[in-house]
């Protein structure tokens, strides 16, 4: 893979990272990036994106809504992308994963 390709891949991944800042957890009312729910964003340079993320609780009733939101938000800007959301629960999410900005917004 050329250096130029890698730069392009990082650029798309960074862009998706910013896009996911608009995806809210409807209960906590904070975006999933600042909540620390997104563990990894992987773009293969060939229209395939894999989001490795978790939920605040494994049986979160809003799980579908959050993952649908992730897919729809990415597809809105990149309609040709195949978006794969992989939910993982190891490591389990806890409050220490919330960003500084998230803590401020939650009044923690």
């Amino acid at each position: 893979m050329s250096k130029k390709d890698l730069t392009e891949i990082r650029k798309v991944e960074n862009d998706i990272y910013d896009l996911l800042k608009t995806v809210m957890d409807p209960e906590i009312e904070l975006d999933i990036i600042n909540l620390g729910l997104v563990y990894n964003i992987l773009y293969d340079g060939d229209n395939n994106v894999r989001i490795e993320m978790t939920l605040s609780t494994p049986a979160c009733p809003l799980g579908d809504a959050i993952t649908d939101n992730v897919i729809n938000t990415i597809k809105k800007k990149y309609p040709d992308f195949n978006v794969d959301v992989d939910l993982v629960f190891d490591p389990p999410w806890d409050a220490s994963m919330i960003s500084e900005e998230g803590r401020k917004r939650l009044g923690m």
Partner: protein, 439 residues
């Protein structure tokens, strides 16, 4: 497509929704019946209007809300789908018809002609509910103390209902040697503490930490609470049947109270470690309801030692205070709070799940009026205070004012519930699009 998602087991919205609607109507009916019967609160115990009001509250309002909430939460608590949705739908209609029939028979004071039939249909409908929950538990992938609370609650419901049915049939066939009152006491203890408290505690162990967002809590506290509550209750009911000695009853009641205290400690830990520092209106109701649970705990101790306290003349007032503090202080307060936590999400998921990310969507709490919910909260608190004064001072006038306030609360609650049900997602999105274009 999301992999490893645990929410595929959620029931269809039309399985859950009718329960919330019936509960809202039941709550309104309760308000109307209370205004019509304000003066009956100071008459002899088990006045037929009070029985109609009690059963409207516990069955028409609280039980329906529990049915709907539990069907929605089974996938979360048990990590499996509800055993049978068609059975849940059938149970809803049978329960709804049975509640109307039962409340009507109490309201007209009929204990021999219709009551046995109303009690039998009620028993059957609750039996179907219990069967559905037990079969769901059989398939559960999560079997811990949280799910055991639910299982124990439905067991106590079966016991309470069996006692209720036998008491109702006894009015006609007269096969009990003991008085109706003795059986009504065990029916009430098993129903109110065994079912409602156990069920609320069980659902609360999942919902409260989930809404407060607190993790890694000490499950040992729950375990101890579970054993104490069930051991105490079993002892209480058995000693009521076979011994009826106030010191033994006191001993078992203390065990039940110890179970409540351990549960409080668990919730307190969750509250202390919560991420969401500011409580919304739903959580304010919820946390306050747990504080209010202290009232029936204290009153129950007075009741046990009534002959020695010199308060025997006030027995009926104290029994009434116990019932009111349980039904309105604890159950209704938490039910009002949890409606504002669960129903907006159920409706939001129905209307917006497929639209999120494509359009700007509202937050679940924006589906109802927070202002109305806030006003409702304060009026409800005034209602509780006035009711206590009215009962202690035996003031019919104050009770009348309190019941009118309760009716207002039920109207405001219905306003918000119907507002959520009639929420039009297309209209909301079109309005937002126009606002964005105008900017």
């Amino acid at each position: 497509m999301a992999k490893n998602l645990h929410t595929d087991n959620a029931p269809a919205i039309n399985t859950v929704k009718p329960h919330f609607l019936f509960a809202a109507i039941g709550f309104l009916a309760l308000g109307i019946l209370m205004v019509l019967s304000a003066s009956n609160f100071f008459e002899v115990s088990y006045n037929h209007h009070l029985l109609a009001i009690t059963h409207t509250a516990v069955l028409g309002w609280l039980m329906m809300l529990i049915f709907g909430s539990l069907y929605q939460l089974i996938p979360v608590i048990f990590d499996t789908a509800l055993y049978s949705e068609p059975l849940a739908k059938f149970t809803f209609w049978l329960t709804a018809a049975s509640i109307v029939f039962l409340v009507y028979t109490f309201w007209i004071g009929d204990y021999t002609v219709y009551l046995p039939y109303a009690a039998t249909t009620m028993y059957l409908s609750l039996f179907f509910f219990i069967f559905n929950i037990m079969m769901s538990y059989k398939n559960a992938r999560i079997k811990n103390f949280k799910s055991l609370f639910i299982l124990a609650a439905v067991f106590w419901l079966l016991m309470a209902e069996t006692e209720g049915l036998l008491t109702a049939l006894n009015f006609k066939y007269n096969f009990y040697s003991a008085s109706h009152l003795a059986h009504l006491h065990t029916h009430a203890i098993m129903g109110l503490v065994g079912f409602f408290v156990m069920m609320i505690f069980g659902v609360g162990t999942t919902l409260i930490p989930m809404f407060l967002i607190s993790h890694r809590l000490n499950d040992k506290l729950l375990k101890i609470s579970f054993y104490l509550l069930n051991f105490g209750l079993a002892g209480l009911v058995l000693s009521k049947y076979f011994v009826d000695n106030q010191y033994i009853i006191f001993l078992f009641w203390v065990v039940v109270i110890a179970g409540v205290i351990y549960y409080f400690r668990y919730i307190h830990e969750s509250y202390k470690h919560r991420m969401k520092k500011t409580l919304d209106v739903g959580m304010k109701y919820t946390m306050l309801s747990l504080v209010f649970l202290l009232a029936p705990v204290v009153i129950s101790l007075i009741l046990i030692f009534l002959p020695q306290t010199g308060l025997k003349a006030y027995a009926e007032v104290i029994v009434l205070l116990f019932g009111l503090s349980m039904i309105f202080g604890f159950f209704t307060t938490i039910a009002l709070g949890q409606t504002y936590k669960t129903l907006p999400f159920i409706i939001w998921l129905e209307k917006y799940q497929k639209l999120v990310g494509k359009y700007h969507t509202p937050l679940p709490r924006e589906l109802y009026s927070e202002k109305v919910a806030g006003v409702q909260f304060y009026i409800y608190m005034v209602f509780l205070i006035l009711t206590i004064f009215a009962v202690i001072l035996q003031q019919t006038m104050v009770m009348q004012i309190a019941t009118v306030l309760f009716l207002i609360v039920s109207i405001l609650y219905n306003y918000n519930v119907w507002k959520m049900f009639f929420h039009d997602s297309d209209q909301y999105i079109n309005k937002r699009d126009k606002e964005i274009l105008n900017k």
